[in-house]
Symmetry: C2
Subunit: 368 residues, 2 copies
């Protein structure tokens, strides 16, 4: 582990130092230093149907130092690259916000700040991710850690052996960065990963030891899954070849959460490569479920205008073109109702554990 770690750090550090070198070399040759940054606008984002992921196109933009409009941004990019290199050298991780603070200072002999807000430094970190093809996690930049996991899974974290089957119902708190240099997956004997949108249902399943009976890894991000949770699901899927089932509310946001897990997101298209799980399946809540499972209409929630607009938008996305998906979304629209997973409690507090999921798994009733 230690060796692998040092190696990765070294490679990323070299790339970051390269950014500063670009400036020095160009200056020595009295040339205009430039950086080529892939364009991250919608126009440069495509859905690769064959690979099943949203990816970035090939268009790049030159960022030049001696261009008046670009000089400040260039300087800022070098500052951020420098802070990121510091992280590599010290083998630390930090947050986007702290990088902003670290790189903020008043420029000598002026009252001007290097950065006035985090909205100036965040995009530069994304630029560097793309330009250096280093995942944010490899740059040692954390997001929040808002996930929990239980199940037949043994991790190595800072030399500790973390057995997720022996952590009661609380489980292991999933860190923001689960790259191999930080988190080792020592063993996983699960048959599948169940990625649950909300903490409530995860709690229900954890309390009922569902993972033991159905031999799965129970994972949640308590809402839209944060990067660490997505990466952990992806690594389990990839390294242990086990399927990932996604359980979300039956509303357009639930569909979207699923699609981000599966294909990646439009905003961070360059990350799909290492975050998306193109074979992830949507296990529910489906708009067909209220009928199938006899949920009364009065536990449905009326779609509002935003829901309807969003559902129609989703229907146009290339990755929702398969007939079952068009049917799924149309059914929601024509019923005029959305359903939360919590509504299953209307039948019984344990309906999710005892009836809904067992039947879903038995009937292999999911969407692809």
């Amino acid at each position: 582990m230690a060796r692998a770690k040092a190696k990765t750090n070294g490679a990323v550090e070299k790339k970051l130092v390269g950014v500063a070198d670009t400036v020095i070399v160009a200056a020595e040759r009295s040339k205009d230093p430039t950086l080529a940054i892939p364009v991250r606008s919608l126009a440069n984002v495509n859905f690769n149907a064959k690979r099943g992921i949203i990816e970035l196109g090939r268009r790049k933009q030159e960022r030049s130092f001696f261009n008046v409009g670009m000089a400040k941004k260039f300087m800022q990019t070098v500052l951020v690259a420098d802070a990121l290199a510091e992280l590599q050298r010290a083998d630390l991780t930090t947050s986007l916000r702290e990088i902003y603070y670290r790189t903020k200072h008043t420029m000598k002999g002026s009252h001007e700040n290097t950065f006035d807000g985090q909205n100036e430094s965040d995009p530069l970190i994304e630029d560097l991710e793309v330009a250096l093809s280093a995942l944010r996690e490899e740059l040692h930049v954390r997001a929040e850690n808002a996930g929990s996991v239980v199940g037949p899974l043994v991790l190595g974290d800072d030399g500790d052996r973390v057995d997720c089957a022996r952590l009661g119902k609380g489980g292991y708190s999933v860190p923001s960065i689960v790259e191999p240099e930080y988190i080792e997956i020592r063993r996983c004997t699960a048959d599948f990963v169940l990625l649950v949108e909300k903490g409530t249902q995860w709690n229900r399943l954890s309390e009922d030891k569902f993972w033991r009976r159905y031999n799965c890894v129970l994972l949640t991000g308590n809402g839209q899954p944060p990067r660490g949770v997505r990466r952990l699901a992806r690594r389990l899927h990839e390294e242990y070849r086990i399927p990932v089932y996604v359980l979300v509310d039956n509303d357009p946001w639930g569909y979207y959460i699923y699609s981000v897990v599966k294909q990646g997101s439009i905003n961070l298209a360059f990350e799909s490569e290492r975050m998306a799980i193109p074979k992830a399946k949507f296990i529910g809540l489906s708009s067909a479920d209220p009928d199938r499972y006899g949920l009364p209409r009065n536990v449905g929630i009326k779609l509002n205008d935003k829901d309807i607009a969003r559902a129609k938008e989703l229907m146009k996305y290339q990755w929702f073109q398969k007939k079952p998906w068009q049917d799924e979304i149309k059914r929601m629209l024509s019923s005029g109702l959305k359903y939360e997973l919590d509504a299953l409690a209307n039948k019984d507090f344990r309906y999710l554990t005892k009836t809904y999921l067992p039947r879903k798994l038995k009937e292999e009733d999911w969407l692809d």
Copy 2:
């Protein structure tokens, strides 16, 4: 453990069943069934300076069945009590939202629902908490589990021995309910609890193994600490007699988070009894710190109108009357700036671990 658990469940179940009994008994005697519910309005909330907690007064309100305006609410209260009794019997926990769904149905022979929204069922659960003096957790109602803990602390959860000193940097995911019937504190050899507002700083400290060097329990709720995190801090404080230090942003919301941990909250005054930690100390970020620790003014954030109004409001609270607190808040107001903990990264990514907290602890520089 098993015995203690059964005992608690039984006692709470009896209280809940008692609610339904009130109706039956009164009906048999052809009397108007009534429930006496303590009033939870501001007018019935006091700060008990001697005990150092915000508590509920003695005013009660009679809720009567044959009063037209109250009949529906009465029926709803009984329905909720019934669902809560079901939880006790089955030894399950659930969320506020699922209780709403569980108790929602269309009344026979009408188109009227028992509940139209969760805003109708939530206050009834609070009513029952107060009326039966049972903490929400004892009623088996969860909030989110959004906390992480590492440190020299061994817990028992569902028969598993969870050693929080052996869970890497990720740590144990703190459940929403940490009552003794669910979570056993088997051992704690820490000298203090450090309750950190935000996940970023918790991550920094966990990564740096700060807890090992300073022998403490590192706890965070990733923002305003949820109930489980507060209860865990309180239990450690009470059962192991160790101090609790609270580390928050230097803004009026940080002060407030601290004050809720210490005195309890106005909205849930009836819970202070078992949630508040009157001896908790505010370790930072103080408005005196930017000067003391040489933070540049440009990493401060200008107070906006809302901040200023909120700070002035806090100054009037009885529990902020001590001179050092008045000075603290005045200093913020006169500087016109607030500071996030993240701003410490301006000095160095590890400034929090290496300089700020060690000096704070050494100088015992906290507010009470």
